[in-house]
């Protein structure tokens, strides 16, 4: 076979296909092994199955109450904030890091956008740009501390969470900017809340943004050199560095981009709740990590897909809405989510064995 691989191109690929089949049989992987292999190559496969399964299950249990364009798009609206923040979280976790400050960055960015408009009278476009810049800067600072000062991401972002949240309360003086005022004076701040109807399905700008963000990031991670470097850095930073990847720069870029995405989440948050409230979004960090884990991204870094994260966020949304429509106690949702988290990590460990 080795001779054939050196001949013409088309012949080569044909021969290789045959080899690949042979490879499977040789190793006698059986069904389970093959499944393991497929899941290793397509890490978002499991959450997709779980998502479709749970939609089907609630659809059967609840009928059209659940299985309607309206209810299904309501789920999208409910997960949009977590979905955006979880996209940021995914980037960081792919580098084997974690970002506990995502929620704080989100809220503080939204407060900056609101206060800059209402306290200083800046045009909303400028205030929004400032909010986005603040989020990016905090993220970059996280990245700098992780990459240059070599502090553990958990510690850096635990500290940053407290610092940013305290700054948020001190700066805003705990003051909420009311929805009516925003609507009257700076409707741009509520842009992400704008709704449009597509045959019973209700979408918002925030939902569309979340979907586009996830697809763009998935594409960039898969098809650009930068994306490959992100995976390599999470996989083995030393090997990446020795291979010529600028590990520090990549890390700082990832954390800064995560900060920027969180600031966008802050803007979307204003659209979602109408007002600018310094006390909102407190659970975003835990919820984003939940979505990432259920989405099958490995906390050890270097493996997983950001599409999985979207599925993870949607799974949580489906269970939340489904159980509520069934009239179940909300605690059942948390209980099931808890089970899903542990199951997802168990599956991840099992998939890791394929490469072990």
């Amino acid at each position: 076979m080795s001779e054939t691989t050196q001949s013409s191109d088309s012949y080569e690929s044909a021969a290789n296909r045959a080899e690949r089949v042979a490879e499977f049989e040789q190793h006698n992987r059986g069904f389970v092994g093959r499944l393991q292999h497929i899941l290793h190559l397509n890490p978002s496969f499991v959450p997709l199955i779980v998502l479709l399964g749970s939609i089907l299950m609630f659809g059967l249990l609840l009928g059209s109450k659940f299985f309607s364009p309206f209810a299904l798009t309501l789920i999208l609206q409910q997960v949009q904030i977590v979905g955006i923040v979880a996209a940021a979280q995914s980037l960081v976790i792919l580098t084997a890091g974690i970002d506990l400050s995502v929620g704080a960055i989100m809220v503080f960015s939204s407060v900056v956008m609101g206060q800059f408009t209402f306290r200083y009278g800046l045009p909303p476009t400028i205030a929004i740009a400032c909010g986005l810049a603040v989020g990016t800067a905090i993220g970059a600072l996280n990245g700098w501390l992780v990459a240059r000062v070599k502090l553990p991401p958990f510690i850096v972002t635990l500290g940053m969470w407290q610092i940013v949240l305290a700054t948020n309360f001190l700066y805003s003086a705990n003051e909420t900017i009311r929805s009516q005022d925003i609507e009257a004076q700076a409707p741009l701040l509520q842009l992400f809340g704008a709704k449009f109807d597509v045959g019973g399905a209700v979408l918002t700008v925030g939902v569309v943004f979340m979907l586009i963000l996830v697809f763009v990031l998935a594409y960039v991670l898969k098809h650009t050199a930068w994306g490959r470097h992100v995976y390599a850095v999470g996989d083995d930073p030393e090997a990446a560095e020795l291979s010529g990847v600028n590990v520090k720069r990549t890390l700082i870029q990832v954390y800064a981009l995560a900060g920027l995405i969180c600031a966008f989440a802050g803007w979307a948050l204003i659209g979602r709740i109408g007002s600018v409230s310094p006390t909102s979004g407190q659970l975003a960090n835990i919820e984003s990590i939940t979505a990432v884990v259920i989405g099958g991204i490995s906390l050890f870094g270097g493996r997983g897909s950001i599409l999985g994260t979207l599925f993870g966020a949607l799974i949580v949304g489906v269970f939340t809405l489904g159980l509520r429509l069934m009239g179940a106690d909300a605690q059942w949702t948390y209980l099931l989510i808890g089970l899903l988290i542990i199951a997802a990590v168990a599956v991840d460990q099992w998939i890791r064995k394929v490469s072990g």
Partner: protein, 254 residues
């Protein structure tokens, strides 16, 4: 031999580096000429890998200087080394486990299309070409390298080092995990690269291999350079004596 050969390709002059009090490399000087293979020998922990890592950019030397073709250079990271056409096969291979062979081979230097996207098909095709020369039995192009055997992984690391037209090649125990056939192919590769005028540092514990492949051998012990000899002028026993005793045998000490 070393006379009238013009400027050395690489000069490592008086290189020192220590880790928390341990002098891993202690005032070592070695040079390398184009078309030459210099073997680095020594017991475990002698400082061979540490020395070459100062050249490859993995470590920053504490003192000493590095010259490439007579020019003093600063090598602060692996990218600087690559800019001087230095390629390295690390003892630890330095592969990203979750990426496949092609992604590893091109990591940090991906082939991209006109639109800036990575061209996976082209990278895999190139990987197949180079692997056909190094390890024709290699099949696992779509698996993460963590699913490869030790020897297969080593082949990928070798392929990466020779693919990019290095002028200076550093090989840290490149055949440690290879079978006899693959080891033979690497030996042939080294001879071919040598003919092409590359300079090669080869770290290898196999004295016979060093005698067969290298022009000169540098022996280290406890971070210090014991001596450099022309392999044609010494026996394998002489080299072994240098490694073990840590000094040049009487009849060689001029």
């Amino acid at each position: 031999m070393a006379e009238d050969r013009g400027t050395p390709l690489v000069e490592l002059n008086d290189i020192s580096i220590s880790f928390g009090g341990i002098k891993a490399v202690d005032h070592v000087s070695v040079d390398l000429y184009p078309g030459e293979v210099v073997g680095l020998l020594g017991h475990n922990g002698a400082g061979k890998s540490t020395l070459i890592k100062c050249l490859s950019g993995a470590y920053q030397k504490d003192s000493g200087e590095i010259r490439i073709r007579g020019q003093k250079v600063e090598i602060n990271n692996p990218r600087d080394a690559r800019a001087h056409n230095i390629e390295t096969i690390y003892q630890t291979l330095a592969l990203a486990d979750n990426l496949d062979a092609a992604s590893n081979l091109f990591l940090g230097r991906e082939i991209t299309t006109a639109t800036g996207l990575v061209d996976d098909a082209a990278m895999e095709a190139e990987t197949r070409k180079i692997m056909a020369r190094l390890n024709p039995n290699f099949r696992k192009f779509s698996s993460p390298v963590s699913a490869l055997s030790g020897g297969q992984r080593q082949s990928v690391a070798i392929a990466r080092a020779v693919y990019f037209n290095a002028k200076i090649l550093i090989m840290d125990e490149p055949t440690a995990a290879l079978g006899p056939q693959e080891t033979q192919m690497v030996a042939e590769l080294i001879q071919e690269l040598k003919r092409q005028g590359l300079g090669i540092f080869l770290i290898d514990h196999d004295v016979h291999q060093v005698k067969a492949l290298c022009d000169r051998a540098a022996v280290m012990k406890n971070g210090k350079l014991v001596g450099v000899v022309n392999v044609d002028e010494v026996s394998t026993d002489d080299i072994l004596a240098m490694i073990i005793a840590g000094k040049k045998p009487e009849h060689l000490a001029a």
